[in-house]
């Protein structure tokens, strides 16, 4: 059984990393990053078998693709804390000559990143390509992909959803960050997603739901999702999260989607997040 306390402790540090990266960069996307922290912590520190000695092809290891690339401060913290690159490098987030681009990229060779993302709607297709290659190679490992909920407004998502069901891609697990908000407001106001479970179900997917900010639920649901392997359907987990989770003044609003905290706000946020693994050193300037 997973050590939930340990995972929560890691998630605390990751949330500190998110707040501090965006503060030092004076920009970035803390809200969605904080909301998805428990998921990525569970994936990288409990669920996935993966190798921080980075191999682009990901042979015989589980793979994760981040489609909603704007939550890069979360992705970078998770990769650094998993050993893909030095934690100190988090101080370079969004700065000139950094491997930690505003949105994840392979261009600078950052270990752990296999595809550029940022322009939304593309990651699910890429994940399908990797999952299909694993099928061709008789590789038993799984492929995971995370998308935003607003991202589901992109047509390519549904092209991919149709493909994955048609080809019975049961080595694919997609998680939707269902926080209900996007840049311009709530999904409901901007472009209603309608009955999301029914939509995925109608596309031929196995549909699960979980509370993405309850580590126990996250771990149990992901373990259960893996059991879909061999059953002929891709799995989607509709993950309820709260944007900004873990920092009280960032919750309950979409204001923190793409805004960095100032010094005072950062200090206030960090008092709510215990330093468990040691902060990365502050950048020089």
């Amino acid at each position: 059984m997973a050590d939930i306390q340990k995972l929560k402790s890691i998630a605390n540090q990751v949330r500190r990393d998110i707040v501090r990266q965006t503060f030092y960069a004076t920009c970035g996307h803390p809200g969605g990053s904080l909301g998805c922290t428990d998921l990525l912590t569970a994936l990288y520190f409990e669920i996935m078998e993966h190798n921080p000695d980075f191999n682009m092809k990901a042979e015989n290891e589980d793979v994760f693709f981040l489609s909603n690339g704007h939550i890069s401060p979360l992705f970078y913290s998770i990769l650094a804390r998993s050993g893909y690159f030095p934690v100190e490098e988090l101080a370079t987030f969004r700065k000139l000559n950094s491997r930690l681009q505003g949105h994840p990229a392979t261009h600078e060779g950052l270990p752990g990143v296999r595809i550029a993302s940022g322009s939304l709607g593309q990651g699910l297709s890429v994940a399908i390509g990797m999952a299909y290659a694993k099928r061709l190679n008789n590789d038993p490992k799984m492929v995971y992909a995370l998308t935003g909920d607003g991202e589901l407004q992109e047509g390519q998502i549904w092209e991919a959803a149709m493909f994955a069901a048609h080809y019975k891609m049961d080595n694919l697990i997609v998680i939707v960050d269902w926080n209900g908000v996007q840049i311009d407001g709530s999904n409901e106001d901007v472009m209603s997603l309608g009955d999301l479970p029914a939509k995925w179900s109608a596309f031929g997917w196995r549909v699960m739901e979980m509370n993405g900010n309850d580590m126990t639920d996250v771990v149990i649901t992901l373990e259960e999702a893996k059991k879909g392997r061999g059953k002929g359907k891709p799995t989607v987990i509709l993950m309820k999260t709260e944007m900004g989770f873990g920092v009280d003044f960032m919750m309950g609003t979409h204001k923190w989607h793409g805004v960095a905290p100032n010094a005072e706000q950062t200090e206030k946020a960090l008092t709510q997040l215990e330093e468990t693994l040691g902060d990365f050193p502050a950048p020089n300037s």
């Binding site: 682009m56 092809k57 990901a58 042979e59 693709f65 990229a105 392979t106 261009h107 296999r114 595809i115 550029a116 993302s117 940022g118 322009s119 709607g121 593309q122 990651g123 699910l124 297709s125 890429v126 994940a127 399908i128 390509g129 990797m130 999952a131 299909y132 290659a133 694993k134 061709l136 190679n137 047509g155 390519q156 092209e159 991919a160 149709m162 493909f163 048609h166 080809y167």
Partner: protein
């Protein structure tokens, strides 16, 4: 020597792609093909029959096809996407830009029915901007072969080249005239040496350039004729050596002037050796329905157009 280039057959360049990809199926187990509901048009049925597990029918969903290709390439496969040129570029430009070009994926974007010679389907499908779009992407190799033989050889060659490639070919039956074994990525082909005018052509227009050169030579004009299949990276040396001999140049292509091969060559010449130049290309307009040869004539891409462009540019020396 012009006399080396004689029509031996008439076949579509897309058939050359189909034959090339079938050979790759036999020789390289990492090669996989994808198609967006145009298997018959892309001539890949033989590959599918023999290697069904390495073919992905994605349906009418080109954006998804590009993303899946990027994922397959990440895992070490060599994906060849196949659909019409219009749906291979403009429709999926952002997918190619982010998931393939910027991400350095080894994807081969194979595009048929490019240009006016698509014919009767009309301007919705006659893309004339694709070379421009694709050559602007950092790291993208752009190849526009001229006949069946060259297309088949290019198809096989790009599997050995690591990196994203745009391979552009066409629909109609077209003269087969290139000797086998003459294709090398990035290396232009000197088809004839001359001193009065350089004629550089790509794609279907190479055959028209050969025919134009024959007529010009008959009338006493010495033509330096170059076949440029690889538009990017451009063989600058062969161009510069040619204009050093002739001091003027005509570029012929089945594409918009803006963004095409002519524009690339103009940039090379402006920097290294400013030279009088004429463009035989579509001039900022869409095409229309019609027979390929009639369309080429109406839009200024006939053999006679190359001929008169040569006369004009010689007069400007």
């Amino acid at each position: 020597m012009l006399s080396n280039y004689i029509q031996t057959d008439k076949k579509a360049t897309r058939d050359g792609f189909g034959a090339g990809v079938y050979e790759l199926g036999q020789s390289n187990p990492e090669v996989v093909t994808l198609c967006a509901d145009l298997v018959g048009s892309l001539k890949i049925q033989k590959f599918i029959d023999e290697f069904p597990e390495r073919f992905f029918q994605v349906g009418i969903a080109e954006a998804n096809m590009m993303g899946i290709a990027a994922g397959l390439a990440t895992a070490g496969k060599i994906p060849f996407t196949s659909t019409f040129a219009n749906f291979s570029t403009g429709r999926v430009y952002d997918q190619i830009r982010q998931s393939i070009a910027y991400s350095h994926k080894n994807v081969k974007i194979c595009a048929s029915h490019a240009g006016l010679t698509l014919g009767e389907d009309g301007a919705t499908h006659q893309i004339l901007e694709d070379v421009g779009m694709m050559k602007m992407l950092p790291g993208m190799t752009v190849i526009n072969p001229c006949d069946y033989n060259q297309t088949k050889e290019a198809t096989i060659a790009i599997a050995k080249h690591h990196g994203p490639v745009y391979l552009r070919f066409g629909r109609p039956g077209w003269p087969v005239f290139m000797p086998e074994g003459s294709f090398e990525i990035g290396k232009g082909i000197q088809m004839n040496e001359g001193t009065d005018v350089s004629i550089v052509a790509t794609g279907h227009m190479v055959w028209y350039a050969v025919e134009a050169a024959r007529k010009l030579e008959e009338s006493g004009v010495s033509v330096d004729l170059i076949n440029i299949h690889t538009i990017k990276p451009l063989d600058e040396e062969i161009i510069l050596n040619s204009v050093a001999r002739t001091n003027c140049i005509v570029v012929a292509e089945e594409h918009q002037r803006l963004g095409g091969l002519g524009e690339s060559i103009a940039g090379v010449l402006a920097k290294n050796n400013p030279t009088p130049m004429e463009f035989v290309a579509v001039n900022d307009t869409f095409g229309e329905s019609g027979k390929p040869s009639d369309l080429l004539e109406k839009y200024g891409l006939s053999i006679a157009d190359i001929n008169s462009a040569a006369q004009r540019v010689i007069a400007r020396k």
